[in-house]
Subunit: 241 residues, 2 copies
């Protein structure tokens, strides 16, 4: 048996909603997260809320939280990870969902690989994956785009280009929007895509008001608009040949 | 309060390895799965192993398992789901990981939406998502392709086309291979991609022999080959501009 004298970079998912942790976090993920004393977080405030929720073994003021922003330099990340070589475990958390997916955490993970550190991804909720599972759209081939352009003309053009790509590769297209723009995004999807294209709207995943429906665009146009205002949502679509 | 008289189609992830369920399944997912009496499964044998592992509340012989194959007709799926309208809950499970992602389960979910049934995705392990988190590659834009072509010339050509797409869209490319071909796939990746392209190999996720490394192709060529033979693996790469 060899003794592992270096620490591990733990990638720890956090919740998507106020649901109790037992609904979305495996017990071993929780136990790991409770014992980590240094975190790299997208948002220190939400990281503290998470640590409180999982009942961290140390008082919050004894847990170091480094905030990762666009201004964080590679040197700072290297410094933060330096202690892992001395045997310390570090946790990486996003503001919601899985770190390093649709958030800036990948920079930390890339640096960890460069330094030869062990990276451990833990199981937890991802709105992208949950919505893909629940969409009934093609899960054998899919693309996540992040955000569409904000400018209305560019946005419509981009959505149609993704619809073409979807048709060509029979590939589900996945995008997100900032919650206060969700209803406008839904309208643009209805106006921009073909009537036969199937659209899934997945709202408030893991929350009591979770709501997931998939219809073709022509059918969506006959339905009352879903209430998406200021609620997190994922949009997925698949063009029909 | 309205009473929900119809059942729910529960999308239940199963394990990727022999690790204990507490390592990869939230307690509420487990409790839901324990109580479901009708399953639609990609593989009945592995579904029974899962039901044993989570300690299903009924004896296995009292749990109905419908096997979903390519030959299953739309009419059969409609019949299976018919009981959900009468108030019965149905579970959908894959052979490994999340149902309806990189498996045929999406047909069931699509039919459920057509019938207006409630679909509930549960949190659990996905090798695609875990490997993406741990890769340090771009998690803001990514594409999952499933399998590459088997024919060597077509395969190399396809990998280079995906590398071009990765460069153009700064998009991480994700693919899988049947375990006995993993070592050949790794060789083809090394031979087909540019020296600067970053490749992540994620092997045996959630198992004790989990092993995840990301290097550029030039660096991989200087390293001993990883042992991937007959072990599940995900390959991810990102071209550098």
């Amino acid at each position: 048996m060899t003794q592992n004298t270096t620490g591990t970079v733990h990638l720890i998912p956090v919740g998507l909603s106020d649901a109790p942790t037992s609904a979305w976090l495996p017990e071993e993920t929780r136990q790991c997260a409770r014992h980590v004393s240094v975190y790299i977080a997208e948002n220190a405030k939400s990281a503290r809320a998470f640590l409180k929720l999982i009942e961290a073994v140390r008082p919050l003021q004894e847990i170091t939280i480094h905030t990762l922003t666009e201004k964080t330099t590679a040197g700072e990340i290297r410094n933060w990870l330096g202690s892992v070589r001395q045997g310390l475990d570090i946790g990486v958390v996003s503001e919601a969902g899985c770190p390093a997916v649709a958030d800036p955490g990948a920079r930390v993970v890339a640096q960890a690989h460069t330094m030869g550190l062990t990276v451990k991804p833990w199981v937890g909720p991802s709105s992208i994956l949950l919505s893909l599972m629940a969409s009934g759209l093609d899960g054998q081939r899919f693309t996540f785009h992040g955000y569409a352009p904000v400018n209305p003309a560019e946005r419509a053009k981009q959505l149609r280009a993704w619809e073409q790509a979807s048709l060509k590769g029979q590939q589900t297209q996945i995008l997100i929007e900032t919650p206060y723009r969700n209803e406008a995004m839904f309208e643009t999807l209805l106006q921009s895509l073909k009537g036969t294209t199937r659209l899934c709207v997945a709202r408030s995943l893991t929350a009591p008001e979770e709501w997931i429906q998939t219809h073709d665009i022509a059918h969506w146009k006959t339905q009352p608009k879903p209430d998406l205002n200021r609620k997190p949502a994922v949009f997925l679509f698949l063009a029909q040949s």
